[in-house]
């Protein structure tokens, strides 16, 4: 064996013998000196009761510290009412609601080809065209492509499929209002040596329950900036209205969300932005509203969640001096009880 190779082997052997901290931590003991933790020499395998208690205490103290962090963060969170929570640009779940997530056919590690099916939207409304696209990557390409709408793997209707370059675009021009809410788009195709395969991408097929039709002038109402919204509702029931609130540069400031019972026909809804959000951002406006979502909630168990739409898009909202708002801190007894629970865990 070459000398240099022998050297490497010896170094590796020594490295294995003297493992890094992650590997030898079970053989190490630590002791608390004041608030500092210091490493000591490896101990014998015999651990007396006092040592065991000390170890338990070390864990408890540290997990307690974690709970203290959670309590601190929750305390910050409940400064804001649930109807008006601060958000940042990374909160994409709230900024881009009802996102489409393509379903990727995974054939396992070492397979260099895959296919992916994506609907044009997660929610399609009764009467709308339903569209989806099958794409692929790698040397194997889908062939004999068949795309259909299925409920629990039972076919409802076939899509018209057209091949465009390396993708397959599927369309159902007219949909049937009797189809249920929970559906899948199923693409079946031959995929080279892998044979006949399927991908199922879930969608919601919703009745058009109503629309957000107008947004009126905002005003200061105590601790809140109140924004009147008009809706035209086709199906009465319990609804959630949510929208994102931005500054003039379209930087997100807050996510607004509330529930309300709505009747059939014209309805008014007062959206509220709590002024603590505005003070935290030190932004007196004007502002923008965008990405509206109207959700019809299940009034009873067993009813599927369905949706409405918005006829309004980005809307400007007037601002007011920050000292125009009531500065009484927001406080909710149930949230305070949760905070007390966390503090008890520390």
């Amino acid at each position: 064996m070459r000398i240099w190779l022998l050297g490497i082997v010896i170094v590796l052997a020594l490295a294995v013998f003297f493992k890094p901290a992650s590997s030898i931590k079970s053989n190490l003991e630590f002791e608390i000196k004041g608030s500092e933790l210091t490493e000591t020499q490896p101990q014998t395998k015999t651990i007396n009761i006092d040592q065991a208690k000390q170890k338990e205490q070390q864990f408890e103290n540290e997990l307690a510290q974690q709970m203290s962090v959670v309590a601190s963060r929750y305390e910050q969170s409940i400064r804001f009412p649930q109807y008006s929570i601060p958000i940042n640009a990374g909160q994409t779940d709230l900024l881009q609601p009802l996102q489409v997530l393509p379903v990727v056919l995974n054939l396992g590690e070492g397979t260099d080809s895959s296919a992916s099916l994506a609907p044009d939207s997660y929610v399609f409304f009764h009467g709308e065209s339903i569209l989806a696209t099958l794409t692929s990557s790698g040397p194997i390409k889908p062939s004999q492509v068949k795309i259909e709408l299925v409920e629990n793997n039972k076919p409802l209707k076939a899509f018209k499929v057209s091949a465009k370059e390396e993708e397959f675009v599927a369309t159902i021009e007219t949909s049937d209002p009797d189809w249920p809410v929970d559906l899948h788009i199923k693409a079946t195709f031959h995929f080279g040596k892998h044979g006949k395969l399927s991908i199922l991408s879930p969608i919601k097929y919703s009745p058009d329950n109503g629309s957000i039709t107008a947004v009126n002038e905002a005003s200061v109402d105590g601790a809140n900036l109140s924004i009147p919204v008009e809706l035209d509702i086709k199906q009465p029931g319990r609804y959630r209205l949510s929208v994102n609130f931005f500054n003039q540069s379209k930087t997100p400031l807050a996510h607004l969300s509330a529930k309300q019972n709505l009747k059939k026909g014209k309805n008014n809804w007062i959206l509220q932005v709590h002024s603590e959000v505005l003070r935290s951002a030190n932004d007196a406006g004007p502002y923008l509203l965008d990405t509206w979502t109207l959700t019809k909630l299940p009034e009873r168990p067993g009813i599927r969640t369905s949706y409405g739409n918005s006829k309004v898009g980005e809307i400007p909202v007037a601002g007011f001096e920050l000292n125009a708002y009531d500065t009484t801190p927001w406080s909710d007894p149930q949230e305070q009880a949760r905070l007390q629970f966390f503090k008890k865990l520390q």
Partner: protein, 349 residues
């Protein structure tokens, strides 16, 4: 007598009830995860669903809980499961079990089921004239609230009559514990497809969710190739941490690896979690069932919570230990207990 009547009423509706099983003075309700056997052999009765629920939590949590919400994995969450949860919620409301606040403990799909339940229970109970359940927090072990890509694979393999690659078919058979037929009702597996899971009950909740996650694999690594990023054999990290995006993450933190190695800002972890989700502990070798089972010998690490949730930034100092080649942040002496044991004993102290 009051306790006795509570026990009998809970047992009648399929809920467990034990004495002195509280966590920090509050009653504990368990919400179990996906049970593959329900798809292969649909439960014949509510009694069977209750038996399955009891068996699911038998390794640790049954004896530390006051009630369970049991459900059938062959049903959709917005279908039969919603009705089953509501019926149990009525019983819990009448029993007063949550009057002074309850703690949910969920595992795997129980995270998603609980999120849907929490979003709707108050509306449903109030509409029917019952007191809503006062839920303080949820401890989520290996939470699947963001879905898992293995559900996409199961759905694809089963609906193509198991004609996918042999690797995919084998992984699905291991995961499901048998071969499914294309006519089988896949129930909650449809809800577990990330495209569905990430659009179910998505409103921001004031109920905090504490996340306890693992990155081990008890399926001999067979399922891992079908799950995005680091996984625990069933659930991807993006889901168990509560990340807002279904990306291929390797940790719940941008600063700490699953094994505790500190690499400030360079770890492939999420920048944002769902609102009021707090990642607390990670176990590099803790596998999916190990989070609530008897698995010991795993070194746990804390999640450096120095990232934002809901737009709020909170920094905190961490304790680090010098290693030969790197610094590590970890729970000392955690190898002698299970993850659940440590969490319960510590929080219940």
């Amino acid at each position: 007598m009051k306790f006795k009547s509570l026990v009998s009423s809970l047992l009648l509706t399929g809920l467990a009830a034990t004495s002195q099983a509280q966590l920090a003075g509050h009653n504990v309700i368990l919400v179990h995860g996906f049970q593959a056997d329900n798809i292969l052999n649909q439960p014949a009765s509510s009694a069977e669903i209750i038996q399955n629920g009891e068996a699911y939590w038998s390794e640790y949590w049954n004896s530390h809980a006051d009630a369970r919400l049991d459900w059938d994995s062959s049903e959709r969450i917005e279908g039969g499961t919603a009705q089953r949860l509501y019926d149990d919620a009525v019983t819990l409301s009448l029993s007063g079990l949550c009057t002074s606040g309850c703690v949910l403990v969920t595992h795997s799909t129980g995270d998603l089921v609980a999120r849907y339940f929490v979003e709707n229970q108050a509306d449903w109970l109030e509409a029917a004239g019952y007191e809503p359940l006062n839920i303080l927090t949820s401890l989520d072990f290996a939470g699947a609230g963001g879905g898992t890509e293995i559900a996409d694979t199961v759905v694809s393999v089963v609906t193509s009559n198991n004609s996918a690659s042999s690797l995919a078919v084998t992984a699905v058979e291991w995961f499901m514990g048998g071969t499914l037929d294309s006519n089988d009702d896949l129930g909650v597996l449809y809800d577990l497809q990330p495209a569905n899971a990430r659009n179910l009950a998505i409103s921001s909740s004031t109920i905090p969710r504490l996340r306890f996650t693992g990155a081990g694999n008890d399926y001999y690594g067979l399922t891992g190739g079908f799950i995005t990023g680091t996984d625990d054999g069933v659930v991807p990290t993006h889901s168990s941490c509560g990340a807002v995006q279904a990306k291929a993450y390797d940790s719940c933190s941008k600063d700490v690896e699953f094994d505790g190695e500190i690499d400030k800002g360079d770890v492939n972890g999420p920048g944002n979690l769902f609102y009021n989700h707090f990642a607390v502990l990670m176990g590099d070798d803790t596998h999916h069932n190990g989070t609530i089972g008897t698995q010991t010998g795993v070194q746990l690490t804390y999640v450096d919570n120095n990232f934002s949730a809901g737009g709020i930034e909170v920094d905190f100092s961490t304790k680090t230990y010098d290693g030969w080649f790197a610094d590590y942040l970890y729970v000392k002496n955690s190898t002698g207990s299970t993850m659940s044991e440590k969490v319960y004993e510590t929080l219940n102290d």
